[in-house]
Amino acid sequence: MKPTDIGNPDYFHKVVDCQWACPAHTPVPEYIRLIAAGRYDDAYMINWKSNVFPGILGRTCDRPCEPACRRGRVDEEPVAICRLKRVAADNKGDVHARMPQGPFPSNGKRIAVVGAGPAGLAVARDLAPAGYQVIVHDSAPNGGGFIRSQIPKFRLPDSVIDEEVGYITDLGVETRYNSYVSSLKDLLDEGYDAVFVGSGAPRGRELDVPGRQEAAANIHIGIDWLSSVSFGHVKSIGKRVIVLGGGNTAMDCCRSARRLGGTEVKVIVRSGFEEMKASPWEKEDAMHEDIPILNFLVPKEVIHKHGRIVGMSFDKVEAKYDDKGRRTLVPTGAVVQYACDDVLVAIGQENAFPWIEKDIGVEFDRWGMPKVDALTFQSTNPRVFFGGDAAFGPKNIIWAVAHAHQAAISIDKFCHGQDVAERPGPGVTLVSQKMGIHEWSYDNAVSIDLRFKVPHRDKAASLIDIKAEVELGFDAALAFKEAQRCLNCDVQTVFAPKLCIECDACVDICPVDCISFTDDGEEDELRTRLMAPADNKTQDIYVAHGLKTGRIMAKDEDVCLHCGMCAERCPTGAWDMQRFLLDMAQVEPAGVKLEALA
């Protein structure tokens, strides 16, 4: 095998599974260590720089980091990364002084942002400190977009949204709320240097079955209904509620319905329980609130009498797989019927761009989505950029933020006449953590605690108040223990073959048998004859040549605990534990520096 090029930032970045999986590439282990140390302000600022909405994400993130977490491969469950982030947000002190302090010297450029959701606000956050005049338009009376209108208050209180939207508007971003942008052409004509479209995917998919129109009064589109609940327009619902759909919106609908008078709320999904799009923890929370999830039921008909809904019927189906593993839902012939007073339809969201004219150079594909460059987020009109759900369809907050950072870089380059396709690389530091013999600047003892559960508010109390936050968050003591479960994957095992005397000390001590000294070979074959079989091909083998015996050092990164035992037992310092910090490129602020990483 070719020796590993550890100079390539991607190599060690990939070892930090959580950071690699995070769309915004937040340096997770770095802030978890700070949380363990009680340095909540520092932990918050690292998050704020990288993902802009730590308090919001700490409650609502889709957590792509957690399935990726290495802990999940050596233990039953990953580190509760998301809820630790919330700990930093909840326990920090006043961080206003650590935010970029305006007024920022103007660079004379004006940027229009359409939509005050996570994408639009994050673009504004990145551009304002660089001297841009950013004007954010939104039809809602306040900022946050779907964060505010779609996510129930019992999961995300308004105070958290207000605070984090506030940090952005405090940067001198101009907000034009209550103003619906009805024409992109008009906006462009106002002479903006660039326009960022972060208008989300605002349209809920319709239910198309007989009886839908006749019983319309009691059939609601999920996202619209949630938004009405959120703004206080809807305060009650019938006792028996059917929620259609298996995504997180369906989970929010059913749990909201439970709090507004729904005593018999059930979720009904077309596919199997396992394939539902909702996050496992959201399904759990719904079921915990006595909401059954019924699967393999395809809506057939809305049953109504005298213009009032009576119930719904469904075709019972089963999943059949063909040779290629493709699934089809085949009717079993059985029809089941459930009585209900209201139906909430949460079967998907769609993009809608009725306000973008067809003749202004913004091209759309045959699915009605704008043609957007996946790297630069520039549309076919070079002055118009897209991000968040508006760019590639419904995803989630953290993706919106990641898009926004890249779009902001593109807008900055575009406004300065530079090539947007040339992307700035990340900042990388790799520093030894050795403090002495057997002493490291990180806590290298490996906790064997299982994942801690976040304390919840009492169920009865939760169900009578739609604004009462259900999750109470980890307290400091629990947060410390959970933080100690983090394996510090960013503290890398760095190997210097020239120093190695091949004494085998590292091989013998490694608790997970990830180090081998062996003859060279092709990767596939090599993977079979290491100290432990290296079956997980998504994880790299770290290969070093240049040993005296002509063998190679091959380390399977898969389940390395980053405990530093190899480096502790190494007599020559050939192994060293070095902290790898990868700082994604962002728009350079003018004259001021964003809070430096701890």
Binding site: V74, V446, I501, C503, D513, P533
Partner: protein
């Protein structure tokens, strides 16, 4: 300075042996020897060997004397019996334990100081008595615990860390063991587990006195240029005569080998020692030839390693003494105390 214990988490696919134990179950406390010590590799090799042989940890007794080497039993087989004896006296304690309970597997761990100086006589007599044991000398040629003075196994002419040459002749423990009738004699190197693990497995399954001299570089005091027990020197001068596979049970050997390249030795317990010859002229069942070979190569400055001698028909001390077939702790009162009539009879026979 803290020594953290080895983390309990292990590889998700860590295999179990026939007893349902993983290799981790054969580990001991974390080593407090110098980082990189050859002895730790030998401990790891012992762990591998016992795991692979499916040995029940509670049936193993590990005994040692004094020295860096003799500290190591703490670092492996944490669930086995252990006895850290007086300096150089491990062989006597082991012999006594073996006499009392012949059913345990005895593993004596010693060093070059413990066995070639203060306990030289003890070593010699346990070998010539044919005690059923695995006797491993972790041989680094220096007294590591007292800052690196030459030991009795240091080669003549070898240089100390400060550059002073050793003027005394070295004791070759392998040569002594061969001469005194050890029925299983091997030499290996801590830096070569592929050779060492099977050698230990063979010794553990051998009936009789099995002796392994394992060169184990002292990273702190004897791993410099001029040393003859450094990683580099041993790797450069290693003359391995064979490569051993220990085949348990009575499985058939079906692979065909070119004639003269493989030698199969059947041991008492039915296990087979398969020796892949690396040196054509070498016959591991010929004791006299082995002694000659050793001397010739020693004169050339080569370190002969591998399974140097094995007697498949070996017996042990209990056979020679005609002792009772069962351990003393297995005997009930009627056996241990046969009554006054039996005593009378015995006394009468002696009058």
């Amino acid at each position: 300075m803290t020594f953290l214990p080895k983390p309990k988490l292990h590889h998700p696919k860590l295999v179990e042996n026939g007893l349902g134990f993983t290799r981790r179950d054969y580990e001991g406390a974390i080593s407090t020897l110098c980082a990189g010590c050859g002895h730790d590799s030998i401990s790891a090799a012992i762990i591998h060997a016992c795991f692979e042989l499916d040995l029940p940890p509670h049936r193993i007794a590990k005994l040692s004397g004094i020295g860096c080497s003799s500290k190591t039993p703490t670092y492996f087989l944490g669930n086995s019996h252990g006895f850290n004896s007086v300096h150089g006296r491990m062989p006597s304690v082991l012999t006594g334990a073996n006499l009392a309970n012949r059913e345990l597997i005895y593993l004596g761990v010693s060093g070059d100081g413990d066995s070639a100086s203060i306990g030289f006589g003890q070593f010699a007599h346990s070998i010539r008595r044919g005690v059923n044991m695995t006797y491993i000398v972790e041989n680094n040629g220096v007294y590591g615990l007292t800052k690196g003075q030459f030991s009795a196994t240091a080669d003549k002419g070898a240089k100390s860390k400060k550059g002073v040459a050793n003027n005394d002749e070295a004791i070759d423990l392998v040569a002594v063991a061969l001469q005194l009738g050890a029925t299983y004699v091997g030499r290996s190197f801590s830096g070569d587990k592929a050779q060492l693990i099977p050698l230990i497995k063979g010794a553990l399954t051998h009936k009789g006195a099995a002796f392994i001299d394992c060169i184990s570089p002292c990273v702190t005091f004897n791993n410099h240029e001029g040393s003859t027990k450094s990683f580099d020197y041993v790797r450069e001068h290693n003359a391995a005569v064979n490569f051993l596979d220990v085949i348990e049970g009575r499985e058939e050997i079906t692979t065909d080998y070119a004639p003269g390249t493989v030698e199969i030795v059947k041991q008492h317990d039915g296990s087979l020692l398969k020796l892949r010859k690396l040196s054509n002229e070498y016959d591991a069942t010929d004791r006299i030839a082995a002694m000659n070979f050793l001397q010739e190569h020693h004169a050339k400055g080569e370190i002969v390693t591998g399974l140097l001698y094995v007697d498949g028909e070996s017996g042990d001390m209990h056979d020679l003494l005609g002792t009772a077939k069962h351990p003393l702790n297995d005997m009930d009162e009627s056996l241990l105390c046969p009554g006054s009539a039996a005593l009378e009879k015995l006394n009468a026979s002696l009058r």
